[in-house]
Structures are given as structure tokens and as C-alpha cells.
Symmetry: C2
Subunit: 283 residues, 2 copies
């Protein structure tokens, strides 16, 4: 990591170099004097923003095929106090990449989601081959490049280029609707007034009370606030106890949204505002 200049904004992303997060970072901060720091895991990116080590962090939150990135949701709910200031959706294309000269593949390594997104391809073309999970697609490319024998990685064309690897097969994802949504996180919320925006919240509702979720949804419905996503995660207190993440259209600065959120807050055991931010346009 090189020293950042004073005027530069420090930005953390899931490294190493060559990850989709890095591509998103370069695209988002195009024209900005950014100083980019790779972190070894999603939770370490989030906690670096929380501790003030970097000003902003970029993390994946959801994939169109595999669903939510659990560590992102769990860390935002239970460990950090941050705001989403931007979302970006990036189409994901996977490739099978190897060290030049590789004849046999005994192990295929990648991020767990990438392995899952190519499951049918791997079952068909590499049945019985071990699949090893590493921290990121770029970490897999790095592992292959640094000489893990008979290994292949699943990763981006950019990671193959960065690490000097051959591309054996392109676009191996099972479904062409494969896209990942990234969030830019900060300790300070932004104003999303006057633009088409979205708001994210997380809350724990009373699981013992029948109809508690129904009542919460009613607070949105009766004010005409549209939900774009609802996701449950274990509360970590045992089976049947969940926290709920909601994404909804509009900003805290809109009157109806503010009323709905205040009502939801009043009905929740705990509640966290994750911020209002402009709705993404696909990159």
C-alpha cells in the first residue's frame, strides 16, 4: 500500500487487485483523486470504514442468481454503523483461467459465489474435480499464478490479464442474468433529495407476535411506499428469530417515507437506518 496524498480520498475494496470490487472502484471514482486500498475480506473493508481507516468502502451486497452476500448484511446489521451512499449494479462474466502450460486440472478454486454461479458448468465439464473456496476471484487467480499445481481459477478477464494467466473458457456462468449489486459505504449519510432514490433499513421485529411482519409491511403499503427488496437473516439468538432488511423507493427526506419509517421503528425491537442513496443505473 502506497502512502495516500493529503487531498486524496481513501477508499477500501475487497482485494487483491483484479477483483470485481476493484473494477467497480475504478469505475465509480473515475476522475476522482482516489487512493485505493485492497482488504483481504468483505468484513475487513466494512470495519475499515467503521474505524475511519478509509473514508469509503465498496462491497458486494447481492447477486442476481445467488442472492444476498450474507457477510455484508450481517456485518452492517451487527458490527458496523455505516450508511450506504451509492449502489452500482455490474454484470458478472466468469472465465476458467489457468497458468500457461497447465495440462490437467485437479482443483478449481474461486470465491464461493463464483463456484456456485458456475455449478452446472463445473458439474458437466469437471465432475468430481475438487472445488476450493478462497476469499475472492482475484485471490483464486493469484493462487493459480503463484504456482498451485494443476489448479484452475474462476475469475474475470481482467484478473487473468493482471496475473498473466491463460483463459481456457469464457462466459462459463450458468445464467446470463448474472449481475452483482455493490454498495459504497461511508460513516456520513448523503442527501438523496431531488433524485430517484432508494432507502435501506434493517430491523428486528417481534417474532413471537403473530402478524408482526404483516403489520410492518402495512406501514409501507398504506402510505404507498414501494418495497424493492425484503430479506431475512438469523438474529443469532436461535431458530425462528430473524432480522429483516428492507430496500424501499424514496428517501428519508420524503414525507411519506419518513412517516412509514418512524412507524416501523416504533414497532421494532431494534432498528437501523442504512441510508438513502440514488438508484443505480447499470454500469
Amino acid at each position: 500500500m502506497t502512502e495516500c496524498k493529503t487531498a486524496q480520498k481513501k477508499v477500501g475494496y475487497l482485494g487483491p487487485r483484479g477483483t470485481f470490487s476493484e473494477e467497480i472502484a475504478l469505475s465509480f471514482y473515475r476522475g476522482v483523486e482516489g487512493c485505493f486500498t485492497p482488504y483481504p475480506s468483505i468484513s475487513s473493508v466494512i470495519m475499515a470504514v467503521d474505524s475511519g481507516e478509509v473514508a469509503e468502502g465498496i462491497v458486494p451486497v447481492e447477486n442476481s442468481l445467488e442472492g444476498s452476500v450474507n457477510v455484508t448484511l450481517d456485518t452492517l446489521a451487527h458490527e458496523a454503523n455505516l450508511f450506504v451512499i451509492k449502489e452500482m449494479v455490474k454484470p458478472i462474466r466468469h472465465n476458467l483461467i489457468v497458468k500457461p502450460g497447465t495440462k490437467h486440472i485437479n482443483v478449481i478454486c474461486s470465491h464461493a459465489q463464483a463456484l456456485a454461479q458456475c455449478r452446472h458448468y463445473l458439474d458437466k465439464h469437471y465432475p468430481g474435480t475438487d472445488r476450493v473456496e478462497v476469499e475472492s476471484t482475484a485471490a483464486a487467480a493469484y493462487k493459480v499464478a503463484s504456482g498451485a499445481k494443476n489448479y484452475a481459477a474462476i475469475g474475470s478477464l481482467r484478473s487473468a490479464e493482471i496475473y498473466g494467466l491463460d483463459v481456457l473458457d469464457q462466459d462459463i456462468q450458468d445464467n446470463s442474468n448474472n449481475a452483482t449489486r455493490f454498495l459504497v459505504l461511508s460513516k456520513e449519510p448523503v442527501s438523496a433529495a431531488g433524485v430517484k432514490s432508494k432507502t435501506s433499513i434493517v430491523c428486528q421485529i417481534n417474532g413471537e407476535k403473530a402478524g408482526a411482519l404483516y403489520s410492518i409491511l402495512g406501514e409501507f403499503a398504506k402510505r404507498g411506499v414501494n418495497l424493492t427488496k425484503i430479506e431475512s437473516r438469523p438474529s443469532r439468538g436461535g431458530f425462528g428469530l430473524y432480522v429483516f432488511f428492507f430496500d424501499l423507493e424514496g428517501s428519508w427526506e420524503d414525507e411519506q417515507v419518513a412517516h412509514a419509517l418512524n412507524a416501523v421503528k416504533a414497532e421494532s425491537l431494534w432498528f437501523k437506518n442504512l441510508g438513502s442513496y440514488p438508484i443505480n443505473t447499470v454500469e
Copy 2:
């Protein structure tokens, strides 16, 4: 895989021998002439039931700390047409196991999650000892049994028994809320009339229509049908389109449940009944 006798019920589970899935299989089929077949992945267990290769299959569906097992939900929604005939919740208990005669432990190996779940125990009793990640707790037991010198594994009592290992210490997990819920799947539904039961369904609702989920929940709420779980997964048609899994109290054979489900079915783009089955008692 040994040949099954004609009278035996063929049952598939997530292998290799010694996994928690195998323990669940042995516990569920106690006293039944079962013929058990390990499969290398969760989706292959489910598809073996779907194709009739085995009569029943056992798969994990949810962990109390980590949440849903996505591959189980997605395969049930999109690829197989099966019914849940039983659920079982198994507390996850870890044990320190070694080859008989082991005097010193230099390395402790297990699945990454098992190592993490015993971190405080290991820090206290084995500070400075190397920790090595392998594919499963059963694979760790196998590694120790096949002679890795001065190795200990973290695994189940059953894996110690299968691989002829000594149990050095029991119940070494740090968090007692750790439990996994398993489903037994079949091509034929069972009757859950007259017992305390649960019903699972999956449906896709009209994401374009504001309040569609609220309306679905209303069908349950107004008939006093309690939901025990709600989970969204990507529909695979692009962002913002989800299928919803609901677990609810009662059976299709109960009048109020049947009415609610018929109403939900009528409001859904597609709907799948995953069966009614007795509510688990923890094993």
C-alpha cells in the same frame, strides 16, 4: 456403494461417511431397513430423489447462525418437484478427536466453520497450535485416521467411531445456539393430519405490483395462520424479482390453511406446495 436389497428403502445423504447428514439419516431411519447412499453435493442428493434413484433424501436447509442453505432452496424451487416429509433440527456439537496413542498435537484440522466455532476453546487449550482447514469435518477425521502425524480433528462422535479415533474432549463449540435444520425429501407427500405440523410453500409474486407481498401475508393473517419463516431468493430473472419461501403452522388438511394457500396460489405468478410434515422435536 453396496447393492440394496429389494426390501430396503434407498436413502441419499450428503457424504462422505461421518457427516452430520449421515447422523441425521441413521437417527431418522433407526429401526428401518435402510440402504444409505452418500452423494458428493446437496444438489445431487435432491436430484437423486427427483429422478427416483433413491426413495428419500436428507439435506440441510438452514443453520441457526449462518442462515438458509441456498442451494437447497434454489434446487427445490427451480429444479426438482419434491415434498418435505419430515424436518429435524440437530444441535451441532464438536469434539476433539485423535488417533489412538497420540501424545502431542501440533496441528488441529477441520472445516473452516468448525474451527471458527471452537475458536475460544482452541485459544485457551491449544494456544499456538496450527489450525488447518479441510473440506468437511468428516474429511478431517479421515485425514487424522490415515496417519497425519500429531494431528487432531474437530468432528462428530460418529466420525470418530467410523474412523476408529479416540475422543479427547467433547462439546468444545463456543456457541450453544449452533443448530442445523434438515429436511427429508420424497416424491410422494405424507399426511400430517392429527399431528402438530408445518407446511412449506414457495411462490413467485408479482414484483411489479406494489403491495403484492403485503397482500399475500394478509391471506395468512386474516385466517390466523402463523408464519414461522419467510425467506426471499432471486427468481433468476433479474434484480428485483424474487421467489418467496414460507413455512407456516398447520397442514394442507386444515381448512383455514387450505383456504389461505388457495388464495396465495391465486395471487402468485407460480406456486409450489412443498408439503406438510410433523414439526420437529430437537434430536
